[in-house]
Amino acid sequence: MVTEKDVEHIGELADIGIDTAELATFTGQFNAIVEYFDVLDRVQGDDAVTRDLYNVLRDDVVEPSLSQDEATRNAGAREDGFIKAPRVM
């Protein structure tokens, strides 16, 4: 059973910005979906997913790439060719 408090907590973890008014709807939908997920309790076996490619890496050498202007052009806020972000500290 997922509670409104759980959904509020998940909303915080995911930085999704959730209103108190939305909590009841999301919680109701969550419970229906999570109840459906319970069918996974019946899964047998313990095999890991088979993968056919591992650690595909290239040599660590500089290659042509976007210019600074191209790479920052879509940013909402720029300063001196850099992307401006909200303060972390």
């Binding site: 997922v2 759980d6 959904v7 998940i10 909303g11 973890l13 995911a14 930085d15 999704i16 910005g17 959730i18 209103d19 999301f26 939908q29 969550f30 229906a32 979906i33 999570v34 459906y36 997920f37 069918v39 996974l40 309790d41 019946r42 899964v43 047998q44 076996g45 313990d46 095999d47 890991a48 997913v49 088979t50 490619l53 595909v56 890496l57 290239r58 976007l66 191209e70 790479a71 920052t72 052009r73 879509n74 940013a75 909402g76 806020a77 992307i83 401006k84 972000a85 909200p86 303060r87 972390v88």
Partner: protein, 434 residues
């Protein structure tokens, strides 16, 4: 290379295009002058790419997706960007921030999703071909609902470079068109190795469809005709499989026991990957700007609350939940085991049969607004998601009608046997050609 332009002025009565390129240029090649529509989660240099989300409004990619570069090099003209469920999350194209796309066969119904715009522009004859993407059925479902052909290639056969990620272990770019030959032609251009995609395989596709299926062994999984599948849809598809028998194929009844939990596993995995992939949308590098005067979390939450629609927020939260401490073992870890069981079920069946056939969707296109609760929408993906979990190729080809609406025959094949599913679809298409 000579550069030409075409005039492209589609009569889009279905809200299928998010952006139309009125005079697209093109060069020479095997797609010379063909107008191709591109789903809006595939990056196009210089053309706004939004994933049908407010959070990417105004985003203009500085580079082309690998597949887009390939079609341009082959002479195609990028005709525009098509509507979709926001970030590919949906089965109806109703979850677009820019309004739903209507089904050209019946405008009171959905076109399917999430590549509903791409299917609609092809079905309405606005373009000859389109690129879609398929994470859990997003090419095959709208192909079935709109009465066109759509191929979900083997995972790794078409580069995902420039495809804006939603559930990267499941999704792929693929071709859509009105007929199998065009789907095959477009596939021949977009398939092949790309070093910029670490999951890319070196398996080019150079195939001319053949209608000879004499001796082909077809598995018919009982789950594709069981509970939850409209009996009228099932009957149309059984008749289509009968036509394949007339052409010399034999059928074998079979079962995919892991389908009991495949849909749940799919939704746990896709939402978990979404919660991680969509963390990048924070208003800093692209999209509407974050308020840099606010604290990090407050600014983030403002942008994401206003920018993401309800289904995207729901899936990000579901994924965050499935990966959170105390629930990881119960949901995510179990879903990964379930995924391997699905893969093994297919591998076992493909020892005895060459392809599997069944309906693409358990019903015809539903009415706009008909499926209002999320779980009932998710359940309609039951016949398409197993293919994505296993990474195998599958095609949807029109095979008849129910209540005047198209029904899709789904043909699923062994990994990297995209050619074979193309051939089976082609054989059927040629056999029923008027």
């Amino acid at each position: 290379m000579a550069v030409h332009t075409i005039n492209f002025e589609p009569d889009d009565r279905y809200n299928a295009f998010l952006k139309v390129c009125a005079k697209p240029s093109h060069g020479e090649g095997k797609l010379v002058g063909i107008a191709i529509a591109v789903k809006d989660n595939i990056s196009t240099q210089g053309i706004e790419t939004t994933c049908a989300s407010k959070i990417l409004k105004g985003y203009v990619p500085p580079y082309d997706a690998h597949a887009v570069g390939l079609i341009k090099n082959a002479g195609a003209a990028v005709a525009g960007k098509t509507n979709m469920d926001e970030f590919g999350m949906g089965t109806s194209t109703e979850n677009s921030a820019f309004g739903p796309t209507l089904n050209p066969r019946d405008t009171g119904r959905v076109p399917g999703g999430s590549s509903g715009g791409s299917a609609a522009v092809v079905a309405a004859g606005m373009v000859r071909m389109a690129l879609g993407t398929d994470t859990g059925g997003s090419i095959r479902c709208p192909a079935a609902f709109c009465g066109i052909v759509g191929l979900k290639p083997t995972y790794g056969r078409v580069s995902r470079y420039g495809l804006i990620a939603y559930a990267n272990s499941l999704e792929t770019i693929g071709p859509m068109a009105t007929n199998v030959a065009d789907v095959s032609l477009l596939m021949s251009v977009i398939a092949g190795h790309d070093r910029k995609d670490t999951t890319s395989h070196d398996k080019p596709y150079d195939h001319t469809p053949s209608g000879d299926i004499n001796g082909l062994r077809i598995g018919v999984p009982e789950e594709y005709f069981g509970k939850g599948v409209d009996p009228e849809v099932a009957a149309v598809v059984r008749r289509a499989i009968g036509r394949l028998e007339d052409l010399g194929a034999s059928t074998v009844p079979c079962s995919i026991p892991s389908m009991e939990y495949a849909l749940a596993a799919y939704y746990v995995i896709c939402t978990s990957e979404a919660s991680s992939n969509l963390a990048r949308f924070d208003g800093v590098r692209y999209g509407p700007a974050a308020d840099t005067r606010k604290s990090w979390h407050a600014a983030y939450q403002d942008v994401r609350k206003q920018g993401f629609g309800p289904e995207v927020r729901r899936r990000i939260m579901l994924g965050t939940f499935a990966l959170s401490s105390g629930y990881y073992g119960k949901y995510y870890a179990k879903a990964q085991i379930a995924r391997e069981n699905v893969r093994k079920d297919f591998a076992r069946l493909f020892q005895d049969v060459d392809v599997l056939c069944g309906p693409t969707m358990p019903m015809i296109a539903f009415k706009l607004g008909e499926k209002s609760d999320p779980l009932s929408m998710y359940l309609s993906d039951i016949l398409t998601v197993p293919v994505n979990l296993a990474g195998i190729p599958a095609i949807s080809v029109p095979c008849g009608k129910v209540q005047g609406m198209p029904v899709g025959l789904q043909v699923m094949g062994r990994p990297f046997e995209d050619e074979r599913v193309i051939d089976v679809a082609y054989a059927y298409e040629q056999a029923v050609k008027p």
